[in-house]
Symmetry: C2
Subunit: 462 residues, 2 copies
């Protein structure tokens, strides 16, 4: 047997985090005051009662919680235990292939039953809704990761699940639809004729391939107009990011097992939940001054470059202006991205807390085009075996850049990224890449300028 470099840093089942981590106190401590969401009509800060038709009380409380730690309920832990703690691995084969002195670690969330990190919050949301006596949850899904996670979670807590799936993905990814149906969910392609919001879009554009914003409008409408139905979101909101911190809490302990402290923490960003989940427990160290040099890199698609080319403004979370206005980087709520394969990274906005961290210079953002992302994905698959989903392939691309920079600089560098899902549902994208069929979709800012100019400013606090 060879004297191998340790490659895997496993926690014991009983080391699963029993509380979620709330970054808010650390942000406030660093002088970064959160901005409140605004009422879509009055433009005044929203009160909890506005959210009550959509979310159970417990989640509304988590949305504005100021406690640093929030207990994970036992019934949620029981489900987490089906796949958590997840592995943290060192990518020694990729390192060798890159001939880099950098040490590359990744947290792997693809071992969850749905194949991604999304169940971390889906399970919690289903639990709190069941606890509140809700019979059904309506939601939207882009690539299908969120929809399949919520379908699974709802089934486990005996709740019905209604999913509006962006038409482009519905047609491109039938396997994701079937996965949701296997868990017992009802799936509609969005825009659909089951809601007023969907009908309006179809009336003006019968061939619409949809967007997350439109699908959100449909799901919110169903929840707002049915007493027994709530709404659930798979990213962006504080409580969603909170639930995802189990990723980073585990990763911190695992990096300690490896005897390492990351120099740079990387993740892909659509709405921000997988990256915040990994990054926030580490970010707290930076905000408190314990790790001032730790860098944070958010990777996004060039076709939907919210953080790199968007405006920091108040904007709606959905396409038709039903949700509160959120202070965030946005490309405008009317933005419909090209149907690129990173289906989960096509949201017009980003999580407010993550947007603030970028705005304050605690995180940097980089945008990549499809082909360089899939090149990185294949390089990873062919060295480490795991075929990544297109979304985290953006993080792999950034990790490879960091490792190459370390090589140029002749520098040891500890890189940590979130491999938030496997690509077994995304093989068509690989086929398109391997056969040269992936177009480079560039973002054209001129088309968005008018829409963006109309958005109310989000003042930079702190």
């Amino acid at each position: 047997m060879s004297e191998a470099t340790p490659m895997r840093f496993d926690l014991r089942p009983e080391e699963i985090p029993t509380a979620w981590f709330n970054l808010l106190p650390s942000m406030v401590g660093a002088g970064i005051q959160p901005l409140p969401p605004l009422h879509p009509g009055t433009k005044e800060p929203v009160t909890p009662d506005l959210l009550a038709p959509l979310f159970p009380e417990a989640l509304i409380a988590q949305e504005v919680a100021t406690d640093e730690w929030i207990d994970v309920p036992g019934e949620v832990l029981d489900v987490y235990r089906l796949w958590r703690p997840t592995p943290l691995m060192r990518a020694t084969r990729l390192e060798r292939d890159l001939d880099t002195p950098a040490r590359i670690y990744f947290k792997y969330e693809g071992v969850s039953p749905a194949g991604s990190h999304k169940p971390n919050t889906a399970v919690a949301q289903a639990f709190y809704n069941r606890q509140a006596g809700i019979r059904r949850i309506a939601t939207e899904t882009g690539a299908g990761q969120w929809g399949s996670a919520l379908s699974m979670a709802c089934r486990m807590f005996g709740i019905e699940c209604l999913v509006y799936m962006v038409r482009a993905s519905y047609d491109q990814k039938p396997y994701r639809r079937i996965l949701m149906e296997a868990f017992g969910a009802t799936v509609h392609a969005s825009p659909s004729d089951t809601t007023q919001a969907g009908k309006q879009v179809l009336a003006s554009d019968p061939g619409s391939t949809g967007s997350l914003g439109i699908a959100i409008s449909e799901a919110v409408e169903v929840a707002a107009t049915n007493d027994d139905t709530n709404y659930a979101l798979g990213s962006v909101l504080n409580h969603v990011l909170l639930h995802q911190t189990v990723i980073g809490l585990e990763a911190k302990r695992q990096m300690e097992l490896a005897g390492e402290r990351p120099d740079v923490v990387i993740g892909c960003v659509g709405g921000g939940s997988n990256y915040a989940g990994l990054a926030y427990p580490f970010m707290a160290d930076r905000l408190r001054g314990a790790a001032p040099d730790m860098r944070f890199v958010a990777a996004e698609p060039a076709a939907c470059p919210t953080l790199t080319k968007g405006r920091f403004a108040y904007d709606f979370g959905d396409a038709s202006g039903m949700t509160p206005l959120l202070p965030m980087y946005t490309l405008g709520h009317g933005f419909v991205p090209a149907p690129v394969h990173a289906g989960g990274l096509r949201y017009h906005g980003d999580a407010p807390s993550l947007s603030l961290l970028v705005r304050h210079g605690h995180m940097e953002a980089r945008a990549y085009n499809q082909n360089e992302v899939f090149e990185a994905a294949l390089r990873f698959a062919r060295t480490q075996g795991i075929v990544p989903a297109p979304e985290p392939a953006h993080a792999i691309r950034a990790a490879i850049e960091e490792a190459e920079a370390a090589r140029e600089a002749g520098q040891e560098r500890v890189i940590l990224f979130n491999l938030c899902g496997h690509g077994h549902f995304d093989m068509q994208a690989y086929d398109d890449y391997l056969n040269g069929r992936l177009p480079e979709v560039e973002f054209d800012p001129s088309e968005e300028e008018a829409a963006l100019a109309e958005l109310p400013d989000a003042p930079v606090p702190g």
Copy 2:
């Protein structure tokens, strides 16, 4: 936090098995002498030189090894470490749903990068071939699990991979083909026009949907006629089953961690490798008299009922009679099963060692039809979250039967089965099941009688 029943029994990374377990000495000790393979022409026992054009020396030696333990090379361990040790879980949610006093455990091999147990042997085979200076490996694949595992393994050891994929699966499962291509393999639908064997089949049946036997003939032909190319098989042979024993070796330790001894050990059987991998380390206890009451159940599809309706005879491993004759349960090497969704369980024969164990009454076999298998699969997915591949869904079906029998008998019963892969590449099958499109394919023995009658007897030894 709730006082939860322990559900997961993890080994530490350093507890990965460092030697494979060979059941042969235990079988011989119990009076079961293996029967030799016979030369296809002379019908005399084969000598190692007959296999030399196809396999490297190390694997030929393992095929006839009499040592009980065979060291896993360090480079193989290094790759195993990318996903091993794999989880052993207790299916408490399924137990509750079944209202059974039985305790159901499963070993989960779906966490491997290819999504199944197949890399356990693919990695070993690629390693020994690289060591022998081989440039390329040719193989066949049915559902695609084996082909994708070997493609990954070949890439890791710098060997080319050429895969003949059964036409029915090639058309039904494009994602599996793409996965192989993502790892850099060349994939042909079989029968193909790249071999004499394929051309012959196409000449008589241009629309042939293929069979594993035909695909084996094609791959063997390429290996036999090219010096730089070897052949690799994903099941049936002794060395393949040997490599899979890492599953059972881990599971034995994990069951000890759980403080349990299985009353019944269950697996699905196509060629026999995943089930042997789990079962053989436990079977040794039965054969040695340490666990005389431990039962072993092999689950197979009613559409390809090799163990339950086949004949114990000498038969070819491939369709066109190029391989040695193997002593096994067989439906005849000309048997072409209906294209049912359990694509990996459609082989006409079964591993000789496993066939002998059935013949001697140490294992029982049960056959299930498609719809009862998918019913069990969905029940598992909706309670445990994991969507199983159609193949191990046969094992789940058998496990549920055992758990229901335990309930009827008011009996505690410890059930262990092998969940050898996830179903993320098999969603079309679930769609067909959910929409009532799965036909019940019954095996008609009358069609096979003539072919089976011509096979030479395999005497029952011992």
